[in-house]
Symmetry: D2
Subunit: 343 residues, 4 copies
């Protein structure tokens, strides 16, 4: 049994890791930290875990994280940066769900997250945790930086087009819609039921943190800088992201359907829909799939990609578990085999 | 008291007309038709109308529509085309909430609605019912074609930019998100609670009927053809449309905030938010407002407009009532003074 | 114009008072207090009020509440108790939406609200603000204690039966279901979207504060003590209360439908549905109605009453406004004429 | 591999069987019938099944159901009655999710379902499929009648009290709240999003079909007739049932918590919460658990039981699979090990 630790297990990504590991055949959560809830069983906070998980919150000091084989950080930005180096030093593999190690450029990190990065060398080493674009590196990584949820949906929708060089790399639009759990379990007026139910709004139109990782990673796929206007929207769903991506075709004759099917052939969690279909976020509710459709707009010159994930699974804890499976040479889908919950 | 008739009052736009007219100071619904529900009081179908409306459904024949001063069509496409000419002949003003008279071009109508238009001459005469762009014509119209809901939100967000000539008229993206009531009260699997709750999807990516009226009307604003990629999305809301519009600035130095404020200065139902804010659909729930925000994307070259309406009010029955008020020289906001219902 | 002040206008009941007064023909909100938001326009917090209300938050000291004709308290428990006496002294009529003056018995207040009551004499004087049971006293009151939302729905469903003496006054069950806005606008984990959407739970089964006012008021209707088991449930709605009330008939032969219709004959806001129908909370969304249905269970011996209100309107601010209208001898429905918003 | 057939796989209970069998270690769906969708892959109707299930709808004739080891009926009432006898004859085990075999009394069946029962002998033989009350019989059954969803939640909440003889067997109240998927996937106005979202209503107050099976089964637990007033409510959830049950204690001194814990000790799917807690329907979303809490009302004489299930899992397909596992001597939780999906 692989021993797993989770730092900061009181949020939704922590709870989701516990849910997913509950049925993992070869790993077990043995340490779970929360200063605030130390001493409490996790299933007191998350009623669904009763009967599935008997782990108890402890303080980071008591948790003996360095005896784990792998540690996940489900913490606010700034924590993993402090704690990860010592763990890595001791041979513990680290998967960070926060943004601490996503950006290669420390100046970009400072700009978007408002704090100085204390581990610029690790920034260099960390592997960006999208298996579909970094599988080999993840297998050998000591430190994986799990991507943002919007960033995952947007990248998976654009990578085939950019790699194939069939679109204008500038003037790309990524209109992304997220469920409310993406904002986390912390108390915020903007996450209250009576504030977001039966309503919809855009936010952060003039700049959202995921922009920087999108730019960084898409530049790799494109082999040069890309220009993406990314606008997130808050929608009355618990889970789910639907990114609608628009780009101008430089090669209008390209067989886009085939392009996507070939790029993602053999990928266990990418499902390219048949031509003409539209993915629904509920089809991946609770599951690790990314379901995609590629369309050509009526003008014939614009490609429209529809990309859906569950923000807590493929957009966070499920993708982290997928990386974990790769890092420990387990079947990539261990613990991740559930279909989406529909209806 | 102005005498009002409603043809096809069993759908949501019909019910909404009844709700709005319940508090109209100078008009009264005296005729309401439905072949299927003839003999039934409207408040048996719509419990909220109890105590506010005692009108009874009758067949079109019994309804004596020609004794009305105005008749609204809240019918499927194809009905108004048949019944409107005789009413107009007798001096009854007609406001059609269906698409029968929205398009000037009969061939376009055939293409999108799959039927031959039987009144091409009236197509010419009909006034497209957005007061913010056709107020004077509406005042003198015998026949108003009430716009589509997506089309209203998209046009109101683009007209200031196109009229001012500050954007590239091609490559415009209109990513529109609608509540489920926009699909009407007819039985459809895709409108069932367990099919759409807690989920989101795009639809009709390769072509939606509102495209044609958007193209027609924006060409007027732009003084020439425009290219808009319009993609609608179904979201788990009862009411509400949020259109997110993206365009490339040809005049990046333009003061966009001022442009919008000036264009809509004095408009009773357009609310341009202060710079930097984001409209919420719930802020117009049940109200006739169109709330707008204009942003510049981080690249400085892309304008992002956020445009929200209630699809059943400004997107349908409320805008129809606004036109009615203009046609009868009443205060434009008669019966339309309610703020949105928030929370 | 009657001058109105609102103390604590940053919560949902405060926002709802502003919405309702926006269209009140004879009153105007001139003072609005919030220590935290002093200096801010109310329509910055509540986007729906833009164009309808230009009042600015001020501190209680600056607000000159004593120059108002009436002051509403939309504050947490304990505030009205401190501030109301001085206002009443100066002739200002006070309507308190908190629980400070609902209970006649100071010991009961202490038990349920965990604080000593500082104005026991005013407890005596205050009138419990359900017009359907205390209309005359409200007309002459200096101080009205606006009832709890669950308490309103439960009482209006039971009063006809208790007054008529046709049910066992003990063993009554009141199973009440509320929307989330009833928990207020304060940050609470239990009010977060991702915590309550698509879910349902009971709460406070072993004792809820509204129990005490239900007991007090129903004893008046029954002419003696009653025994009600009251269990509230949190449901995924923004607004709405549905109380389902069960009692054993001591007079099984009673014509229950007629009993309800007669008791509420002439009541502007009570709607007794025809026999066999079921009220929907959405039918009163945003409106001040209480819609009721009375059924006999299949056993013939149990009466089942279904009672729905909008918790923020008839369950709070609308009922407060109804009392205000009575206190100032205005038409009882001034500002309260809107039908529910359906769909 | 055990070969499974599903008759009528286009509804929600059929889709849920496919989802649950997708991860069943020892069984496989080999036949799936639908006259209407014959020839279509199931994952075209249910996007979540893509990659998990390649079964194709066929007509009942083509399906070779008699070559299956077990056949589930997920059909409207009246179908299983026609088709089951021949299958049973050939040694196929039958699990019927419709109501055809739930009632022992053919007259009761006729009364509630409006049709004559054609297999009264099988009525006698069929085992009512709640493992917690009929486990041994289910193990040996040829025909299991899977219970109604409300009926399951209500029975599991009452059985311990009735078996222990600590409550008055008459005057019991079962106030049950269900999600919309309980109404099935057929087109109904009352199941449309814009009709049920953000609203709540009771239905069938004067008599619901589940009443008869509740009465039948509780009489077994009580050893004599019981009197339950059962009122279902439709609530804006996709999945979930929350039954709130009220009964008068005849033995107020009973240790109710212990009673429930002992009765359900060792039950794999029943979770009795610690004293004082409240179950949430979301805690069992997608899972087969029944989560219970038992409370004493403030009067000390009334017991309040809170009982939650997922109506499509423990209330339908999950419970059917639990019975299937028992019938084939498999681990009772095979394919049913997932925790609820929370948030």
């Amino acid at each position: 049994m692989i021993k797993v630790g989770i730092v900061g297990g009181t949020g939704y990504t922590g709870a989701e890791l516990l849910r997913l590991f509950a049925n993992h055949p070869q790993a077990r959560v043995v340490a779970l930290t929360s200063r605030k809830e130390a001493g409490l069983r996790a299933d007191r906070l998350f009623q669904n875990l009763r009967g599935h998980c008997d782990v108890v919150f402890s303080t980071p000091d008591e948790a003996k994280l360095d005896e784990c084989d792998a540690v996940f950080f489900a913490t606010p930005h700034g924590t993993a940066m402090q704690m990860a180096p010592a763990l890595i030093e001791k041979g513990v593999k680290v998967i960070d769900l926060s943004a601490d190690f996503r950006l290669k450029n420390a100046a970009e990190f400072r700009k978007w997250y408002g704090m100085e990065h204390t581990q610029p060398a690790l920034l260099e080493e960390a592997v960006y945790g999208i298996p579909e674009t970094h599988r080999i590196e993840i297998k050998h990584a000591r430190l994986v930086a799990n991507p943002g949820c919007h960033a995952t949906a947007v990248q998976l929708g654009l990578v085939p087009l950019l790699e194939a060089g069939v679109i204008d790399t500038h003037g790309i639009i990524a209109d992304s819609k997220t469920g409310v759990s993406g904002a986390g379990r912390e108390l915020k007026l903007g996450s209250m039921y009576a504030e977001v139910a039966d309503s919809l709004k855009a936010y952060a139109v003039t700049g959202h943190r995921h922009q920087s990782e999108i730019d960084q990673e898409l530049a790799i796929a494109a082999g040069g800088p890309v220009g993406v206007t990314f606008v997130p929207h808050l929608t009355p769903m618990i889970r789910g992201i639907h990114a609608t991506i628009y780009a101008r075709l430089t090669h209008p004759e390209a067989d886009l359907q085939k392009l996507f099917e070939q790029r993602y052939s053999g990928e266990p969690f990418i499902d390219v829909l048949p031509a003409g279909e539209h993915p629904e976020t509920r089809s991946v509710r609770g599951g690790n799939q990314n379901r995609l459709a590629v369309h050509r707009a009526p003008d014939g010159k614009t490609v429209v990609v529809l990309s859906v994930i569950d923000n807590l699974v493929k957009g966070a804890s499920g993708q982290a578990l997928q990386c974990f499976n790769l890092m420990f040479d387990l079947p990539e889908d261990a613990g991740l085999q559930a279909p989406g919950l529909l209806p």
